[in-house]
Structure formats: C-alpha cells, structure tokens
C-alpha cells in the first residue's frame, strides 16, 4: 500500500535529518538540520493521524539498507536530496501533502546551498569509533560506562518517542494528548543530547528498528506501569553514571537528566489516573 511505504519513508526522513544534525560539526548547520528534523516529525504525526482516521495501517519498519553513516557531510546531503525527491513522487493532491512538499522544497533549497559551501565538506568524526571525549580527560572505564549508557539510552529514547507517539494518535481525551506530547518532547531532548554525545565519541548509530510487539499496546494500564518501572531504571542508570564519571560538567548533566526522569514518572502517573 502506497501510504504504508510513504509513512516508512517519512519516518526515515525524520531520522535522516536528526542524525545528520547530530553528525555534522558546524553548530549553525547542526541547529538548522535539527529544526528540519522536528518539522519532519510533525509531518509524521499529521500523517499518522490521517492514516489512523482513515483505517489505513502503518508501521515503524525501515528499509534494511537505511543507514545514517557516512564519511562526508556532502555525501549525506546528496543522499537526503535523493530521498526527499523520491518521496515527492508519492505525495497526492491534498492540503497535508501540499504542506509537506512546500516545507521540503525549502529544505531542499537549504541543502543545495550547503553544497555550495565547500568549507562544510569536512570529514565527519561521528562514525570514526575513536571513543575520545574532547571536552575532558576521561579514564578508559569512564569512557566504557559512557559508551554503554549512550547506546542503551539512545535506543530507549527513540523507543519512547515512537511508543508515546503511537499512544498519542490513539488517545481518547485532550489531556491524554497533552501528557503524551510532554513525554515525546522530553524524549526528543534526550535523544538529541545523547545523539550529539555519541557523535562526539565517534559511535553514532541509528537505534534498532522497533518490533511491533514494542508499540502495539493492548493493555495501556500495564504499559504505563511498566513505563514507570523503566523510568525508575533509567534514573538509576543516570545516577550510576553520574557517580562513575569524575568530570564535574558531565556528571552534572546526568544528574540533570536523572531529575527530568522523576517528572516523567509523575506525568505517567497522571496518565494512569486517566485510564
């Protein structure tokens, strides 16, 4: 079905933009691409709403060949331009698709402009596996702890975004929609922070594809109770990492994330009260 393919490609385009933003070195370009990724995520949300309302199935599958890895920024831009243009062939004549196309034509213009700035075509460090943290001197065991934490949490934040997103589309009250949006926004911030840190360490990689068993929620109450348990585990992981890392700046950052997880639990409790 064309809509299923379209949804998968939009999902990939959101990831493409976000991970390209994490991988690039120039801070202005990084921020611009992240803004584009957020626009793509909103497109994805509107598309999911439309498909759900029209009883058209969609899933979180991705092309097995889909990768965010490259040695050069320009090569990533070329891939993105190609993917975006291919996507436009699937758009139909509706206000939603018109909006998407209009946004993406502007994005294409920006990407083409980047290709004119030869200074941007520097080798990307995001995938070089160096595991070197430039901002502070970390011991090998600190680097290992940070590496494992980032792999674990990048996947978890992606999983949370996509599961809350699935639930939000199926929410039955306005307050449920608002609570899920808060949780999605929080996880976007964490995904961005961890993605940028992984790129700094040279270990940026896409999160694993979600199995439908992860997001096809049949028992919302159980899902929320499990989610609270998972948030408590995430808090514990943050607390352990904060304690294991001697660099004050990094340690404070993980304490800050840890504290944010506490409020997620409160939002989830509010959602439980709504059930």
């Amino acid at each position: 079905m064309i809509e299923t393919t379209l949804f998968r490609q939009k999902h990939q385009l959101w990831l493409r933009m976000a991970f390209m933003s994490f991988s690039v070195n120039d801070p202005w370009v990084k921020n611009r691409l992240y803004e584009f990724s957020q626009i793509e995520f909103r497109h994805l949300k509107w598309l999911a709403q439309s498909l759900y309302e029209n009883h058209i199935p969609y899933d979180y599958e991705r092309d097995p060949q889909f990768s965010c890895e490259s040695e050069s920024f320009f090569s990533l831009i070329h891939t993105t331009i190609h993917e975006m243009k291919a996507l436009h062939l699937l758009y139909q004549d509706t206000p939603l698709y018109e909006r998407m196309k209009h946004d993406e034509e502007y994005m294409l213009g920006t990407l083409h402009a980047y290709l004119q700035k030869l200074s941007l075509d520097e080798p990307l460090k995001a995938f070089n596996r160096s595991r070197h943290w430039e901002d502070a001197l970390l011991s090998p065991s600190e680097i290992d702890a940070l590496t494992l934490f980032l792999f674990e949490e990048l996947y978890k934040e992606y999983e949370l975004i996509m599961v809350y997103f699935y639930c939000q589309i199926r929410a039955t009250t306005l307050s449920q929609v608002t609570y899920f949006q808060d949780l999605i926004d929080e996880s976007h911030f964490h995904l961005r922070s961890f993605g940028n840190m992984m790129a700094k360490l040279g270990i940026l990689a896409l999160p694993r594809v979600l199995h439908p068993r992860t997001y096809n929620i049949t028992d919302m109450e159980k899902f929320l109770k499990d989610g609270i348990l998972e948030e408590e585990n995430a808090k514990e992981e943050c607390r352990k990492l904060s304690g294991a890392i001697s660099d004050e700046k990094l340690s404070r950052f993980f304490e800050f994330i840890n504290y944010q997880e506490s409020y997620h639990i409160e939002i989830m409790k509010k959602l439980l009260g709504e059930m």
Binding site: P64, D226, E236
Partner: protein, 141 residues
Amino acid sequence: MNQEIIEHLMHPRNYGPLENATGIGVGHSEKTGEFVIFYIETEDNNLKNVGYATNGCHDTVVLGSMFTEMIKGSDLNYAKAAAEKLRERVAEGPQKQQACAHMVLSAFDAAQIHERQRRNGSAEELFAIEIAMECEVESHD
C-alpha cells in the same frame, strides 16, 4: 571494551524478522515487559537463516548478535551445542548477563518448539517462554 563489541552495538548482526521463518519464538519477562523474539529458517536440519529482535539492554543486543552470527548456516545440533556452551560460559559471569543470555536462548528454544508444532499442524503464530530472571537485576541492588 573491544572494537568487536562496539561494532555489534552499532550494527547488530541478523537483526530483524525473517520473511520465510519456519519457527518463531519469544523469550520474555512478564514483569519487566522485556522480550527477545527469535526467527529461524531451517532446511534439512540446517539453519539456513536466523534473525532476532529485542527491546532489551545492550548485553541482550550483543549476545543476540554474536549468537546468531555463530549459528547462522550451521546444522541444528551444532547450534544447540553452541547454545549450551554459551549458557555455561555466562553462568560464571554477572547475574545480569545470565538473565540476558537466558532470554536470548529461551527465544531460540521457543523458535525450535514452534517449528516442531507447526510441522505437527499447529497454526500458532509463535511460541513463547516466560522467563523468571530479570535483565535489570543489577539496577535494583
């Protein structure tokens, strides 16, 4: 941490479902909601293809990636022996790793049971084994 582990974390091998799976098994914890789903495609007692997916931790991901790589293309007897060896090896390690390996290997066992059930006419989509061990065991210390 060696480079091989980093590669398994960045690009887990044999990750995702198989189109022509002959057996699908799940190892899961009802308590935490964690699972491993294992896909096998056998032909003449050989594991022609294998795949797995999980919502579990990095240890589960790496173990699943290494184990599937080890048994892909081998005969079933070799795969069963490899599973046993892995079980013995992690038994000496931390409890958390034991739980992760247990989930991967239970899913593999479940896939083989499912395949046998299918051959006997069952129409079930998969076979699931609930495991009592928890992957997050260390977090509650």
